[in-house]
Structures are given as C-alpha cells and as structure tokens.
C-alpha cells in the first residue's frame, strides 16, 4: 500500500468513527428533548400507574437520576466497549434484538436496490435513442414513479396483486412470495430516480465521439448501448447507490409496518413511540454503520466501474 492510499484509508476510518459518535450523541440528546420519561418506558409506558418505589428503583438501576452529562459519558463508555445496553421495554439485550431484526431489513433493502437497478437499466436502455416520444414517455414514467409515496404504493400493490389477482400474499409469510410486494414498493420509486440519472448518463455518453468510433467499426446501436454507454450510465447510479440504501432503510419503516415484516424499521418505530432509548440508539447506530459501509462500497465499486476516479479516490 502506498503512503498516499494508507493515509486515505485512515482518513476514511476516522471519518466513519466521527459519524458514529455524532449519531450516538445526537440521538441521545434528541430523545431527552422530546417529552416522555425514560423510566416510564421501563415500567410499561406513561399510562402505567407505577408506584413511587418502582420508579425510584428503576431510576437507580438504569442510572436515570444522574446528571445528563454523566449519563452521556456512561453511554459512550458502554458503546466503546461494544455494549449496546438493554431494551427498556422488552428487557432483552439490544444487540440480540437487533441481531434478530437486522437480516430482514438488510435483505429487504438489498433486494429492493437490486430490483431498482434492473428496472432502471431496462427502462433506460429501452428508451434511449428510441425517439422523442419514447424519451418523453420514459421521462414521465420516471417522474411519476419517483414521486410515489411508499404507503400509497404499498396499499395499491396489495389491492391489485393480492386482493384482486391473488398472486402474492399481502403480509409477510417468511418465504420469497411474501418478499415480492414489499420489495416492489421500495424499488419502484428508487427505480424512477435511478432511471432518470442513468438515461442522462447514457445520452451524454452517446453524444461522445467514442460512440461514433464504435459505430464506425460496425457496432450496432444496441451494441453501443450494451458495450459502452451502460457503463457510463452506471457511474452516477453507482455513486447514488450509497445514498439510495439510506433512503431504502428509512422507507423500510413504512414497508415493514404495512406488510408486517419483522425488521429494524418496525423496531425503531415502536422504540421511539415507547421512548425506549437504548433500542433507538442501537438501531440508529446500526443504520449509520450500514450507511458508512455502503458508501465505502459504492466508492469502491465506482472506482472499479470508472478507473479514471482511482487517482482521485477518497
């Protein structure tokens, strides 16, 4: 490893650590700012008529009677040693809870990303260079699908494919059939967005002289698309994929609730409602880690797809 790339890697790692610290800190203070006593979360929610003894005991046990700064330091200390704490409401270690929920969400997000890519590529390939009508039609499709809100799309897909046609189950069944509608719900809006970006990249590439060179060698129009412009179109899409995964994770909250899939999204929603601080912190940290890793991965893939970036990477 050259000195240059070693320092780049170190810079990346430092950046990632900083992001995680910032996320933990912001979550900690944000949860303290909204109304709701965490001690009550332990005792079953604010509606519980908990006795003063019970409250006192919980406050001591969880260190909630300490000054805020002390609590913050304690949390940081725990996180540094890898201890995510215990859920107030569910009384199980956060790490266990997340470990059970994470795979489902990650599967959903990755599948949605893959399907979005396929849909976007298909649309971009078919509509590029096929004439003005095709281009404006594709543009409308992209815009509409990118604007679809997840909750509406989910309900519409259920109404069409489940209730009316009976092809797919409306709620998660644990097998692949139950994955189709949730994945589509997440993938379609993202696909519209990616397709617009890809088509832009393809049109840009087609205008370049190398496309002409390729045609002059006897390459057909489709050949130019597949051999050349696809890669150029992929460049901005790959760069966006890191960010896209983040939006997929947040979209997972809605999708997991509607399709009743176990996952981080649902866990997070319930934990925020219940003011279950350790779980919220844990989920947010996990999401941040996934985000950082995905961004790194997308940078690496970018460098593979576009070797010109290698010199400027990181």
């Amino acid at each position: 490893m050259t000195p240059g790339s070693a320092s780049r890697v170190a810079a990346r790692v430092a950046g990632a650590v900083f992001v995680l610290w910032a996320v933990a800190t912001i979550t900690f203070f944000a949860l303290r700012l909204i109304p709701g006593d965490p001690a009550l979360a332990v005792l079953g929610g604010p509606g519980s008529q908990a006795s003063p003894e019970a409250l006192e005991q919980v406050r001591q046990q969880y260190g909630l009677d300490q000054p805020l700064a002390v609590q913050y330091a304690a949390m940081l200390g725990r996180l540094l040693s890898g201890d995510l704490g215990q859920s107030y409401a569910l009384k199980v270690p956060v790490a266990d809870l997340l470990g059970a929920q994470l795979p489902g969400t990650v599967l959903l997000a990755l599948a949605a990303l893959a399907v979005a890519w396929l849909l976007a590529l298909a649309l971009a390939l078919v509509s590029t260079g096929a004439g003005r009508v095709a281009a404006s039609l594709a543009s409308s499709i992209e815009l509409t699908s990118a604007a679809l809100p997840h909750f509406w799309l989910a309900t519409a897909l259920i109404a069409l494919f489940s209730t009316a046609l009976g092809w797919f189950p409306p709620v998660s069944t644990g097998d692949l059939g139950g994955l189709v509608l949730p994945v589509l719900t997440l993938a379609v809006p993202l696909a519209g967005f990616l397709a617009a970006v890809m088509r832009e990249g393809m049109l840009d590439a087609l205008a370049q002289p190398f496309a002409l060179s390729a045609r002059a060698r006897g390459e057909s129009a489709i050949g130019v698309s597949l051999r050349h412009t696809i890669r150029h179109a992929a460049i901005p899409a790959v760069a966006l994929s890191g960010w896209a995964l983040g939006t997929l994770l947040s979209g997972a909250v809605v999708v997991e609730t509607i399709f009743a899939r176990p996952g981080l999204g649902r866990t997070l929603l319930q934990a925020v409602t219940a003011r279950d601080v350790p779980v919220v912190t844990g989920v947010v940290l996990v999401v941040a880690v996934v985000y950082v890793l995905m961004t790194l991965l997308s940078d690496l893939v970018s460098a593979l797809v576009d070797p010109r970036r290698q010199a400027v990477a990181a």
Binding site: A50, P52, T155, A156, Q270, T273
Partner: protein, 557 residues
C-alpha cells in the same frame, strides 16, 4: 345538515375506493352469515385440529404476563392461556369460572372463594388456593410493576390459603367492585411455580389454566399458542367441556388496518381485531366475513373538558361548547354506521349505565347565548370570541396511537362546529408519550382518553377528586378535573355498598351529576370489532373485557 367528509376522511376513502372497485371486480360468490354481536352460531359439527391465525392490530405486548403493566393488548392474548376466578355472561352477570362459589362476610371485610378441584395448569400441576395467593401477592408487589391489577386490588389487604381449594381475601374496606375486578384478565390466576421462575421468564410464557398455552414468542413477529390438553375449566357459559378443538393459534401482529383486512381476504389469517369502519363497511358489502361487535367495558369513548382551568372552569362555557358541537352526522358518515351515538359516560355493556340524551342536543343559539352570558360577547376578526384580551382558544391534544383516522376526522368536525359558536379548537396530533406529556403538564382543554375496566367503579377512578392528584409518574385519571364533594361522597358510598339496589341508585345519581356538570361529551362505545373468516366457527367475545375466546372455536375447510 349532512357533514361533508373531511379531507382526512376522503384520504381514507381513496384506498378504500381502490380496494372496493377491485373487490367488486374480483369474482367471489358470497354467501352471507348472520352477523351476531357476540359470535357465530356454530353451524355443523365441530372438527378437532387446525391452526388458527389471528392478526392483531394492537401493539405487541412487552410482556405476556398481564400482571406486569396491564393493557388491552395483553388482555387480548392472555385470555387464551390465563383464566380468572369469575367470569361475566352476556347479560352482565357474574358467573363461576375457576372459582365454583364464593361467600362474602356480613361486614364485607372477608371473602372466601372455593375453587374447582379438577383444574390443572398447562404444566400438569393442580390449581390450589396457594396459586391464588401467589397471584395476588405478585400483582401487589411493586417490583412487578402492575398498574391496572394493582389499582383493582386497592382494598385487598391479603389472601390466605385456608385449604387447597379455599382462598380467603381480607379487605381493608368493603369493596363492591371486587368480583368485577377479579373477572378481569389482569388479575388472572397464574401458577405459583411459574411466578417463582422470575419476572423475565414469566413474561416470556406465563403458566396458566387456559385452553391454550404459550409455546414460543418470536418478538415482533408472532406468539405461538398450543392446545392445553389438560384443560378442564371452561366458564359457566361455554359451549362444551374438555380440551379446545383448535390445535394451535398463531398470534400475529399486523399494525396496518388495510393489510390486516387484505390478509383476511387472502385467507392468510382467520380473525382480525381492531377492524376499522371502512373495513367493516367493505366486509358488510362483501358479505363473506362474520363480524363480532364487542364494545369494551368501562367508560364510553368521550370528550372530556378540563374544568380545572380557564376557560372551562366556567360551567356556562362548558355547556356552550357541548351545545355547539355537532357530532351525530360525523359519527354516522365517518364510521359508516358502525358506531352508535352514546349519551352515557359508561359503556353500553355496563348494566348500571345511565344515559341522558336531552343534555346533549345541538343548539347553536343556546350556545351563543350562554357564551354571551359568560362574558365572551366580543369576537375578533376571525370570529373567535374574546374576553379581557384572551381568545376563546382550546387546546386539544390527540393521541394518534389511540384515535383511529375516522375518529381524528370526527375531532375535526368538532373543531368546525365549535368554531361556529366562536370557539377556536387547536388540534395537535401527538404520539403516545408526547400526548401523556401534554396531559401531565395540564396543556389541554379538551381530550379523549378511553379507559377500560369492568364495572361502574370506573366512575370513581375517572371522576373522584382524588384522581386529580397525579401519581409519581405524572399520570392522573380524572382528566375532567371534576372536584365535586357530593359526587365524591356518592362514589365512595357506592364503592363499599354491598346492596345491589342501593349500589344502582347511587351510581345513577353519580352519573346524573357527572353528565350534568357538562365536563363530559359522550361519543360512542369503545369500538372493538372483530372480523372472522367463514371457515371459523364458534368464536365469541366473552363478557368480561370483550376479548375473544377461541375455546369453542373450530375451523372448517
């Protein structure tokens, strides 16, 4: 004047319309079953076996032991594996369950319950009075963190196991509501050995005497219940004896209303709860599914006006508000006729409920006159009344966790009709914790807070002036902040009255005072609708807290 559906209602209508159109397009030969309020008439011979899939729209409980905390989602599921000393039949009468018979002393300070001698827990051990004692001690132990059960046993000093089958309750004062309290699932009897395992294990799978037992719990996914083959203790109004027909119940959590119904239609689940008005209307027109309409006991769904601070500390203003607000059209259209207007502070399943429609007729002229009389005669540029530089502005925090979209739209109707008399109602949708926060800090003038409890004793919890004092957590139940010494005395007397007739007279008088104070605007019963697949027979809602019982249920294919 018919009220137009508000924007929110129209939003709710859109997916409904989409679904409805597609539903009508789908081919399904519908044969309607009679819609009963308590359950399906068992048609045909019960078949043993099968797994029932139940989809609940309520939040997943944190702990499967209803002694811990004590909310409705826990009651729903605990009803399958836990049983209480007594039950309540369809007419509201107390009937034997785990306790065969009971006797109260003359002074009301001791009760003796004689248990059935043939009951076994799901682990095979027999039920004895020692388990009753352990249960009560468990609920009363602060470490358990019980709230509902704890309150209900407020007058119980202790329990003694006189013999294997007799348990003696010692009271600190006569409690006319004890049997009603003991019928609730939050005081269901658990095995002493099970309790002794410790809180964590008991939360995972309490050991009870019910027709089913907890087999496993995958958090955020489902709870697996299996048939208890040792079962021998159905309540007196059950349809058969011996173990249940169903082999297992798969209890799932599906938070989204539309998805739940879609799952029912797809045959993925056979029962759904928390069926909302649009789903009920769709089911009714499709005619395929059976509906159980089982309002929850305790208080009705009502609006309460905070009489502890301005402007509602003035009774004239309160009455003006109640006269101005028009909810009947809204209830009719937003709930598609599935909810009936209530004029009582108590649920319609409470035999001792008192209702007075005359107090709640809409009369805008009268409302305006009252407000003028109260000194709110000036109006600002927006038509909102002003007095001494203060606007007649009401804070109305709404809990989105508790109020379904139809109800939130109804509140917007309240806002609109109140505005006609010059009230400004500021609706703030909040999540549960923030909503409690608003209540704790007295940041509300109007609020809707349901309360489920068996028996009219709930009035004491809701309207006795003691309930204005907050618990250490900040919680207090008397949101109307009604402080009426005469009412307090009526409620206290009724709570210890051991004569049924006297009790009725006292509670009637109390309710007259409550309704007459104009701190309460009753809307409708606490809605509790279930939809069942036509393949499910014999399911019913039991008369305690209106939770479903699948003991007599069987699946046909």
């Amino acid at each position: 004047m018919p009220a137009l559906p508000s924007r929110a209602a129209r939003r709710a209508l859109l997916p409904l319309a989409a679904s409805a159109v597609l539903l009508l397009a789908a081919c399904s030969a519908a044969t309607g079953d009679a819609t009963g309020t308590t359950g399906t008439a068992a048609s045909g011979t019960p078949v043993s076996g099968g797994t029932l899939v139940y989809a609940s729209g309520d939040a997943e409980p944190d702990c499967l032991d209803p002694h811990v905390g004590g909310n409705y989602p826990q009651a729903l599921i605990a009803g399958q594996y836990l049983e209480s000393l007594v039950s309540i039949d369809d007419n509201g009468r107390i009937i034997p369950w785990l306790a065969d018979s009971w006797e109260m002393a003359e002074d009301g300070l001791t009760w003796e319950f004689t248990l059935r001698d043939d009951v076994r827990f799901s682990d095979g051990t027999p039920l004895t009075a020692a388990d009753v004692k352990a249960t009560v001690e468990h609920v009363q132990d602060p470490a358990t963190g019980s709230s509902t059960g704890y309150l209900a046993l407020g007058k119980v000093a202790g329990v003694e196991a006189v013999s294997d089958t007799v348990a003696r309750f010692t009271m600190t004062a006569p409690d006319s509501a004890l049997l009603e309290s003991l019928s609730q699932p939050w005081l269901a009897i658990e095995s002493a050995a099970g309790i002794a395992r410790g809180l964590d294990e008991n939360c995972q799978a309490p050991i009870g005497t019910g027709p089913f037992a907890v087999d496993g719990w995958v958090k955020q996914d489902h709870v697996a219940l299996v048939r208890n083959d040792n079962y021998s203790s159905p309540p007196a109004d059950a349809a058969h004896e011996g173990p249940a027909y169903l082999e297992a119940i798969d209890w799932r959590f599906l938070p989204d209303s539309a998805s739940r119904y879609a799952a029912l239609q797809a045959g993925q689940v056979q029962v759904i709860d928390n069926a909302q008005p649009d789903t009920l209307a769709a089911a009714a027109s499709a005619g395929t599914f059976t509906e159980i309409d089982a309002p929850r006991p305790g208080a009705s769904n009502r609006l309460e006006l905070n009489s502890g601070q301005a402007p509602f500390d003035d009774a004239l203003v309160r009455e003006a508000f109640i006269r101005a607000v028009d909810v009947n059209d809204g209830i009719d259209s937003l709930f598609f006729g599935t909810a009936e207007r209530s004029y009582s502070a108590l649920s319609s399943v409470e035999p001792l409920g008192y209702s007075d429609e005359s107090l709640f007729g809409t009369d805008l002229k009268k409302a305006n006159a009252l407000l003028d009389e109260a000194g709110w005669s000036e109006k600002d540029a927006n038509g909102i009344r002003v007095k001494d530089g203060q606007r007649l502005s009401l804070a109305f925090p709404v809990s989105t966790n508790q109020s379904i979209p139809a109800e939130q739209s109804l509140f917007e109707q309240v806002q609109a009709t109140a505005a006609e008399a010059g009230f400004e109602v500021v609706i703030t949708p909040l999540d549960l914790s923030s909503w409690y926060g608003a209540l704790f800090t007295n940041d509300y003038d109007v609020v809707s807070a349901p309360y489920t409890k068996v028996g009219p004793d709930v009035l004491r919890i809701l309207y006795h002036s003691d309930s204005i004092t907050p618990a250490p957590s900040g919680y207090f139940a008397n949101l109307a902040q009604l402080s009426d010494p005469e009412l307090d005395s009526l409620l206290a007397q009724a709570a210890s009255s051991l004569d049924a007739d006297e009790r009725q007279t006292l509670y009637t008088a109390a309710q007259k005072r409550i309704l007459g104070s104009f701190t309460v605007l009753p809307l409708y019963d606490q809605q509790n609708h279930f939809l069942l697949s036509p393949t499910l027979h014999g399911a019913r809602a039991i008369g305690t807290v209106s939770t479903p019982s699948f003991y007599d249920a069987w699946l046909s294919e």
